[in-house]
């Protein structure tokens, strides 16, 4: 099963769809969760997820706003979607009936 931060990354990549890459995913996580996401944690976790076959990455195009540097694009695989569903199901199940879950 996915870890908590892994789940955040997979979710961010899924939300961004075709536009998922390092900086955008980081921005998404920081905005929606309010927690800091370091580049070190992001890229090492991405490698781990890629190793498990949960996401796939490839080199995207270089853009002027990035100083002509390429992006590392991210896409969630079918296996990744299954794993995310499993994690979400587990969190939902264990949270049922708890005071903070109904808020």
């Amino acid at each position: 099963m996915l870890g908590e931060f892994e789940y955040l990354l997979v979710s961010a990549a899924a939300r961004l769809g075709e536009d998922a890459y390092g900086a955008a995913m980081r921005q998404e996580i920081e905005t929606l969760t309010g927690r800091r996401c370091s580049l070190g944690a992001l890229y090492t976790t991405l490698d781990r997820l890629e190793g498990k076959g949960i996401v796939e990455t490839w080199t995207g195009e270089a853009t002027p706003e990035r100083g002509g540097r390429a992006k590392r694009m991210v896409r969630v695989t079918a296996k990744g979607i299954e794993e995310a569903k499993e994690f979400y199901g587990a969190v939902s199940s264990i949270s049922k009936g708890l005071s903070w879950a109904s808020q």
């Binding site: 390092g22 900086a23 370091s38 070190g40 270089a62 853009t63 540097r69 390429a70």
Partner: protein, 363 residues
């Protein structure tokens, strides 16, 4: 400030894989928060470096291959830098163009230069050449296999895999070739050690001198032995000979190579061991590495064959003459005459307080 942060981030990112560096610097540039991003790049570099040491293989190779060769090569580079600086010093400090008119000088000096080059600086230069090759591969990208990347096919012996794993760093799956192969990049802890070693060596000597100066009861031998780690520089500084100090630093001498050189041999060994089993994307690089190794081996063998041997050429008894009697004062001020030692074997050693080599010879 922003510019400095950006330059520092770029410098730090040199320790990352080319493709990752591209993506990370792009992210940093895009977000514009350069100071915070500097911390991010640093964090990523630390994580990547730490990951290299998470397996047992790097530790095994470090203990079995790197440390023993480090000792061996540290001695060699210490000897080269120290002895060449000492020998060059009389020439540099007493240089006179009239020396060229002396046949003995014309005979000895070129021989000495050749000896220093063959035994010391050319092997050291060979290793720096290998570093340059490995440095060049940083400009590769993910889509095209970098020039020094090696595809290590499965089935090679465990020892080679272990050595290569340590020397070449992180593993990546090779999608490009479709082979069941492991792509091992040259960007590893080992190849970055020389940089760290050079920096540590450069500052280490000055730092040790500064620390030693604050310790009142530190024995002189401790100061000298530890400072002797970068002996050529230390010696030149002690003698206040800026020309020699400059020479010993500029001449690939003590500090950097003392520490950088030991880490180079494992790289050469791995290249040599892998010579027949790897597929290099650049034949030119492979060829250059092999040339370097052959050159290094040849020079080492030549140096070993040409090693000075002890040849005690005593004068025949009939040609010997008695030593004229003279008197000197010993360290306690007591008068010593040569007459007192008549009939005994006496070794006379002429030395000076400024001659560190002479002082080292004293038992």
């Amino acid at each position: 400030m922003k510019r400095i942060c950006w330059q520092l981030a770029q410098l730090l990112s040199e320790a990352l894989e080319p493709a990752e560096r591209e993506a990370v610097l792009g992210d940093v540039f895009e977000q514009g928060k350069l100071f915070g991003s500097l911390r991010d790049v640093f964090g990523l570099v630390v994580r990547r470096q730490a990951n290299l040491w998470m397996a047992w293989r790097p530790w095994a190779v470090a203990a079995l291959l790197v440390v023993p060769s480090a000792f061996l090569l540290a001695f060699h580079s210490a000897h080269t830098s120290g002895s060449s600086a000492i020998t060059f010093w009389p020439y540099l400090n007493n240089w006179d163009w009239n020396l060229l008119n002396l046949p003995a000088f014309r005979h000895d000096f070129p021989k000495f230069l050749l000896d220093v080059l063959l035994n010391g600086y050319i092997p050291l230069g060979c290793c720096s050449w290998v570093f340059r090759i490995s440095g060049r591969s940083r400009f590769g990208t993910r889509s095209s296999v970098p020039s020094s990347v090696v595809l290590l096919l499965r089935g090679v012996r465990p020892g080679r895999r272990a050595a290569t794993y340590f020397l070449r760093g992180q593993q990546q799956s090779s999608e490009r070739t479709g082979l069941r192969a492991t792509v091992l990049s040259r960007h590893s802890a080992c190849h970055r050690l020389p940089v760290a070693g050079a920096l540590a060596g450069a500052f280490g000597h000055a730092a040790w001198r500064a620390v030693a100066a604050t310790l009142p009861n530190l024995p002189a031998w401790a100061v000298d032995r530890c400072a002797g780690f970068v002996r050529a520089d230390g010696l030149a500084s002690d003698l206040q000979l800026p020309r020699v100090a400059a020479f010993s630093r500029a001449g690939l001498s003590a500090t950097g190579f003392r520490l950088a050189f030991p880490t180079a041999l494992p790289g050469l060994l791995a290249d040599f061991l892998l010579g027949r089993s790897h597929l290099s994307s650049s034949k030119k690089d492979a060829h250059r590495m092999k040339t370097t190794i052959l050159l290094l081996v040849t020079i080492t063998l030549a140096a070993a064959a040409d090693a000075p041997t002890v040849s005690a050429q005593l004068q025949p008894p009939e040609e010997r003459r008695p030593l004229p009697d003279f008197a000197v004062q010993d360290a306690r001020g007591k008068k010593i005459t040569m007459k007192k030692y008549r009939g005994h074997v006496v070794l006379l050693d002429f030395w000076a307080t400024w001659c560190h080599g002479c002082k080292e010879e004293i038992p």
